[in-house]
C-alpha cells in the first residue's frame, strides 16, 4: 500500500474533477482528477497517447470536456473561451512551440503581452524574460521561424511569461531538443518557478527530467491517473523505475526483455 500523498491545501490554483475529453468517439481522457498547488511545479507523466496534451488543451479551453469541471483560482473555467482564460492568468505553452514564424522574436514576445494594458509592466517583463533567455535579446529582430528548436522553445516559454501568468502549462518542452538544451530549459523553468513564483503544470515524456524538476507528479495511463505522489517518492516506486526511468534489474540472464506487470503501488 502506498503511503498517501499529503492532503492538498484547501485552495489549489488549479483543480480538475473527473474531467473527460474526447475527440469524436475516442475518449482521450477518461476521468481525470488532479490539483496543482500554489507555487509548485506539478507534472503529468505518461506515454504517447496517454492523454497528457489533451489534459492541457482541456484546461486552457481549446477543447471542451464531455464531463467534469475545472477550477482555476477557485473559479469555474470549464469550457470557457480560451482568450478569457488567458486573461485570467493561465498560459499554455503548446507542444511543438508554435511560435509565429514570420514575426520577429520581439513581436512574438509582445504578442504574449497582447492582453495586457500596463505598458510599464510589459517593459519590465520584457527585461525579465531577456534576463532568463539572453539569446532572445540578441535575436530580437530575427524572424522566429529562423531560430533553432531550442531557441524557439525558449521563445515560447518567454512569450507565455509575457502574459504574467499565475499558472503556466508546459507541454513537452524537451520535445526534439538535445539533452543539454533540455537541461538548460528545465533549469530556467525551475528558476521561473522559484523566482517569479509562477505555478507550473508540466507535461513530459522525459520522465527523469520531469521527476527531477517537479514537486508533485501524476502518472497517466490510457486516459486515467494510476498513481500520484511527491516526485521524491515517485522516483523510488518500482513501476516508475522500470517503466518510466528505464531502470530495471537485469534478471538472471543479465538481460531482461519481458516486462513486469504494472501494479502502480
Amino acid at each position: 500500500m502506498s503511503a498517501n500523498p499529503p492532503a492538498v491545501s484547501d485552495l489549489p490554483v488549479l483543480r480538475l474533477s473527473n474531467v473527460e475529453s474526447a475527440y469524436g468517439p475516442i475518449k482521450a481522457i477518461r476521468g481525470v482528477s488532479l490539483q496543482v498547488r500554489r507555487g509548485e511545479i506539478a507534472t503529468v507523466l505518461g506515454a504517447n497517447g496517454a492523454g497528457k496534451t489533451t489534459i492541457l488543451k482541456t484546461i486552457s479551453g481549446i477543447l471542451d470536456p464531455r464531463k467534469g469541471s475545472i477550477a482555476f483560482k477557485g473559479e469555474d473555467i470549464t469550457a470557457r473561451d480560451p482568450a478569457w482564460i488567458v486573461q485570467e492568468g493561465l498560459c499554455h505553452v503548446p507542444e511543438g512551440r508554435e511560435v509565429f514564424p514570420l514575426l520577429s522574436v520581439r513581436e512574438n514576445l509582445l504578442m504574449g503581452a497582447y492582453t495586457r494594458r500596463d505598458r510599464d509592466g510589459v517593459a519590465r517583463d520584457l527585461e525579465l524574460v531577456h534576463g532568463y533567455f539572453p539569446v532572445l535579446r540578441e535575436r530580437a529582430a530575427q524572424e522566429a521561424g529562423l531560430l533553432s528548436g531550442g531557441q524557439q522553445q525558449m521563445l515560447a516559454i518567454a512569450r507565455a511569461l509575457m502574459a504574467a501568468p499565475h499558472l503556466m502549462l508546459l507541454d513537452e518542452p524537451s520535445l526534439g531538443l538535445s539533452p543539454k538544451l533540455t537541461r538548460e530549459i528545465f533549469e530556467i523553468v525551475v528558476r521561473i518557478n522559484r523566482e517569479r513564483g509562477t505555478t507550473i503544470l508540466l507535461v513530459e515524456q522525459n520522465a527523469a527530467m520531469a521527476l527531477a524538476t517537479a514537486d508533485y507528479g501524476y502518472v497517466l495511463e490510457n486516459g486515467r491517473i494510476v498513481m500520484e505522489d511527491t516526485c521524491t517518492r515517485l522516483r523510488q516506486k518500482e513501476d516508475i523505475r522500470e517503466f518510466y526511468l528505464g531502470l530495471k534489474e537485469a534478471g538472471v540472464r543479465g538481460e531482461r526483455r519481458w516486462k513486469k506487470k504494472k501494479t502502480w503501488r
Binding site: 500500500m1 502506498s2 498517501n4 474533477s17 473527473n18 473527460e20 477518461r30 476521468g31 481525470v32 482528477s33 488532479l34 464531463k67 467534469g68 469541471s69 501524476y218 486515467r224 491517473i225 494510476v226 498513481m227 500520484e228 534478471g251 538472471v252 540472464r253 538481460e255 531482461r256 526483455r257 519481458w258 506487470k261 501494479t263 502502480w264 503501488r265
Partner: protein, 618 residues
C-alpha cells in the same frame, strides 16, 4: 432462435466415442480416426491457425521422440510452466505418450513456488512458455539438481542465450525427428507400455493454507472421467469450445483438454488472458465452460453497456429480459411454456436477446457450464432468461473435476445437481460433509501419505470438505466449506459463502470475504470491480485519481454499503454484515492474496489485513 424450454439438444452420450484405456491411447486413436479434421485453433499475429489431429500427432510424436532422446524415462516427471497455449497440450501429450508424468505450474507463480513444485514432483524436464517464465526457472536452477533440461516454447528475445540446460521446442522437435527416423517404433512402444493404473498427471491444489499438495490421477481415472463427462455435459465433434482457463487447473485440463480429446470437440485458444471477451465473441463457441468470475464479468459488461445505451434500447432490453425471465421461471418450475409466451419470446429473441448473446459471444452456445466456485442463482436465471441454459457442476481436483452436475432437463439454481452417474456422492450425517466415491477419485497426494489418509473416511469415501444438504430429488446444495464456517461469539453457525456470493452478484464487487468467527458481529473485506466502480465514480462526478483514492471516496463507500444493505435485507439479523472495508490495492493474479482463479484467499487475507479487521471491531 433459442428455445430454453426445449433441452433436447443436450443429450447424454452413454456409449464410448473413442477407444483407449490410457490418455495416450485415446490420443493416438483420435489421430488415426480424425486425421485431417481440425482439433485446435490458436490466434497468431491476428489470424486463427488450425491444428489438425494429424499435425498435432506429428508434433507430439516429435516432442516425444525428443524427450526419449534426452533420456526421459517412463515415470519421469515433466512440468509445464506456461499460459494456456497449444504447445501446452503438445508437451502434455508428448510427456504422457512417453509414459511420463505431467505436471502443470501456474504461470503466475513466483520463482520459489516454481522451485517447490519442481522439487516436490521431482521434475526432470521443465517446459516453459517464454523468456519471462524461463527466468523464473533459471533463478532457482542451482536448487534443482534433478532438473535435466528446460524446453522453451517461444524463443523470442533468447537468440543469444547459450545455456546447456536450455533447449527450444523447435530444437527438441528436431532432435525428435532425427531420433524417430532412427527408431521408428520407439514412441509407439512407449505408448503401448503405459498401463491404465500408471500415474498420469499431478495437479497441485492451490493450498490456501500450507504448501500445495500434488493430487495424483491415473490414466484409468482420467479416461473413466472423460467418458463420464459425456453423460453429464455431452459434446460432439461439431462443437466449438474455448480453452482459456489455466491448464494446470483440473477444470480446463479435464473439462477442456482431455474431454475435447475424447469427444473431438474443437478447442480454440485465446490470445492471452486479457483478450478472453474478444476471442469468445469471435469464436461464438457452441459450449462454453467457465468459472463464475467470467460469467459475472460478462453480466456486468452487459449491465454497463446498457447504462450507456439510449432510452429506447434500455426499454427494449427491459421488456425482452422480462419475457425471457418469465420463460425462465416456467422452465425452472417445470411448467410448459404457453404458445403466446413462446411467441413473445421469439420476438424478444429476435429484437434484443440474440444481440445481447452475440455481444457476450454465446449466441451459438447450446449450453454453458459453470464450476470451480459457487455461482449466484440470480446469474443462472439471467443466462436462462437470455435463452441459454447454464449447468452448474461441482467437484474438486481430487474428484477429477465434476462429481455432481445439473441435468439440463431439471435446472435448480442454487443447487449443484445430483451425483454424476459415474460416481457416488453422500452426505455424512454428523457433519453434513459431502463425500465422494468412484473410479474418478484421485490416487492420493504425492509424497504425503498422511494427508492422503486424512482425505478419506475409514470406509474409503473422499472427504470433500464441503458441507451441504440433499433434497428429495437427490439434488445437492452446498452451504459452505467446512473450515470456513463461522461461529460467532453468540454461538451462531454462519456460512459466509452465501453472503459472499450474493455480494459478488453486484457489478461493483469482484470478491468479498465475510469475517466473524468468535466475533460479536459479521464484517466483510470487499474487493471492488475497478472498471465498474470507476465508471460509477465518473458518472456521478466523484473525483478520484488512483485506485486507493477511488476506494476511499465517500460515494464509493456508500455505494458498497448499499450493496451490502441489499444483501443484508435478505438474511437474518445475526447473519447481517455490520461493517466492511475495501481493499485499497489493486490485486492481480501474481499477488499472494488471490488464487490463480482470482478468488481471495480467506485465511491469508484475514492474516494480512488483521489490523483493518480489528479496526472494524474497535
Amino acid at each position: 432462435m433459442k428455445k430454453p424450454w426445449d433441452p433436447s439438444h443436450i443429450r447424454p452420450v452413454a456409449h464410448s466415442v473413442l477407444e483407449g484405456e490410457t490418455v495416450p491411447a485415446l490420443f493416438w486413436n483420435a489421430v488415426a480416426q480424425r486425421g485431417a479434421e481440425v482439433w485446435m485453433r490458436q490466434k497468431e499475429l491476428g489470424l486463427w491457425r488450425s491444428w489438425s489431429w494429424a499435425r498435432t500427432g506429428e508434433a507430439v510424436r516429435e516432442i516425444a521422440g525428443g524427450l526419449i532422446a534426452l533420456g526421459f524415462q517412463p515415470r519421469d516427471t515433466a512440468s509445464i510452466l506456461s499460459n494456456t497455449v497449444v504447445e501446452w497440450v503438445l508437451a502434455d501429450l508428448a510427456v504422457l505418450s512417453c509414459g511420463g508424468v505431467s505436471n502443470g505450474i501456474y504461470p503466475t507463480d513466483a520463482p520459489p513456488q516454481v522451485q517447490f513444485l519442481c522439487e516436490d514432483s521431482n521434475t526432470a524436464i521443465l517446459f516453459v512458455e517464454d523468456d519471462e517464465q524461463l527466468d523464473k526457472a533459471l533463478e532457482v536452477r542451482e536448487r534443482l539438481p534433478g532438473l535435466r533440461r528446460i524446453v522453451v516454447f517461444d524463443m523470442d528475445g533468447l537468440r543469444d542465450l547459450h545455456d546447456p540446460l536450455v533447449i527450444s521446442l523447435a530444437e527438441l522437435r528436431h532432435l525428435g525427428r532425427d531420433y524417430n527416423a532412427r527408431h521408428p517404433a520407439a514412441v509407439e512402444a512407449r505408448v503401448d507400455e503405459v498401463q491404465p493404473d500408471d500415474l498420469a498427471i499431478l495437479v497441485y491444489t492451490s493450498g490456501t493454507t500450507g504448501r500445495p499438495k500434488g493430487a495424483m490421477h491415473s490414466h484409468r481415472g482420467i479416461v473413466y472421467t472423460v467418458r463420464g463427462y459425456n453423460t453429464l455435459i455431452a459434446r460432439t465433434q461439431a462443437d466449438e469450445c474455448m480453452c482459456f482457463l489455466p491448464l494446470c487447473h483440473i477444470a480446463e485440463r479435464l473439462g477442456g483438454e482431455y474431454f475435447s480429446l475424447y469427444t473431438g470437440a474443437r478447442l480454440n485458444f485465446v490470445e492471452n488472458p486479457e483478450t478472453v471477451p474478444e476471442n469468445v465473441r469471435e469464436i461464438q463457441p457452441t459450449v462454453l465452460t467457465a468459472v463464475p468470475r467470467v460469467w459475472e464479468k460478462f453480466y456486468s459488461g452487459v449491465t454497463i453497456a446498457l447504462k450507456e445505451a439510449g432510452r429506447l434500447q434500455q426499454a427494449a432490453y427491459g421488456w425482452a429480459i422480462g419475457v425471457g425471465g418469465r420463460v425462465a421461471r416456467k422452465v425452472l418450475a417445470g411448467q410448459p411454456v404457453g404458445p403466446l409466451l413462446k411467441l413473445h419470446f421469439a420476438a424478444a429473441d429476435l429484437l434484443v436477446l440474440a444481440n445481447v448473446r452475440k455481444l457476450i459471444g454465446i449466441d451459438r452456445a447450446r449450453f454453458l457450464v459453470t464450476g470451480a466456485a459457487p455461482i449466484s442463482p440470480e446469474l443462472v436465471r439471467w443466462y436462462l432468461a437470455l435463452g441459454v441454459p447454464m449447468l452448474e457442476v461441482w467437484g474438486m481436483t481430487e474428484t477429477c473435476g465434476a462429481a455432481t452436475g445439473m441435468p439440463p432437463t431439471r435446472i435448480k439454481p442454487g443447487s449443484i445437481g445430483p451425483a454424476a452417474r459415474y460416481n457416488e456422492v453422500r452426505i455424512e450425517a454428523k457433519t453434513g460433509e459431502l463425500q465422494v466415491r468412484g473410479p474418478n477419485v484421485f490416487m492420493g497426494y504425492l509424497n504425503q501419505p498422511r494427508k492422503t489418509a486424512e482425505a478419506f473416511t475409514e470406509d474409503g469415501w473422499l472427504r470433500t470438505g464441503d458441507v451441504g444438504a440433499v433434497d428429495a430429488d437427490g439434488f445437492f446444495r452446498i452451504t459452505d466449506r467446512m473450515k470456513d464456517i463461522i461461529i460467532t461469539a453468540g454461538g451462531k453457525n454462519i456460512t459466509p459463502s452465501e453472503f459472499e456470493n450474493e455480494l459478488k452478484f453486484s457489478p461493483y464487487i469482484t470478491d468479498a470475504v465475510v469475517i466473524g468467527d468468535r466475533r460479536p458481529y459479521l464484517t466483510a473485506i470487499v474487493m471492488i470491480d475497478q472498471e465498474n466502480v470507476e465508471k460509477y465514480a465518473q458518472d456521478h462526478d466523484v473525483p478520484f485519481s488512483n485506485y486507493a483514492s477511488l476506494t476511499r471516496a465517500p460515494e464509493v463507500q456508500a455505494l458498497i454499503q448499499s450493496e451490502i444493505d441489499r444483501v443484508n435485507r435478505k438474511v437474518a439479523r445475526v447473519e447481517q454484515v455490520k461493517r466492511f472495508f475495501l481493499l485499497d490495492t489493486q490485486l492481480s493474479a501474481e499477488d499472494e492474496e488471490l488464487t490463480p482463479t482470482m478468488k481471495l484467499k480467506r485465511k491469508l487475507v484475514q492474516q494480512k489485513y488483521a489490523p483493518q479487521i480489528e479496526a472494524m471491531y474497535a
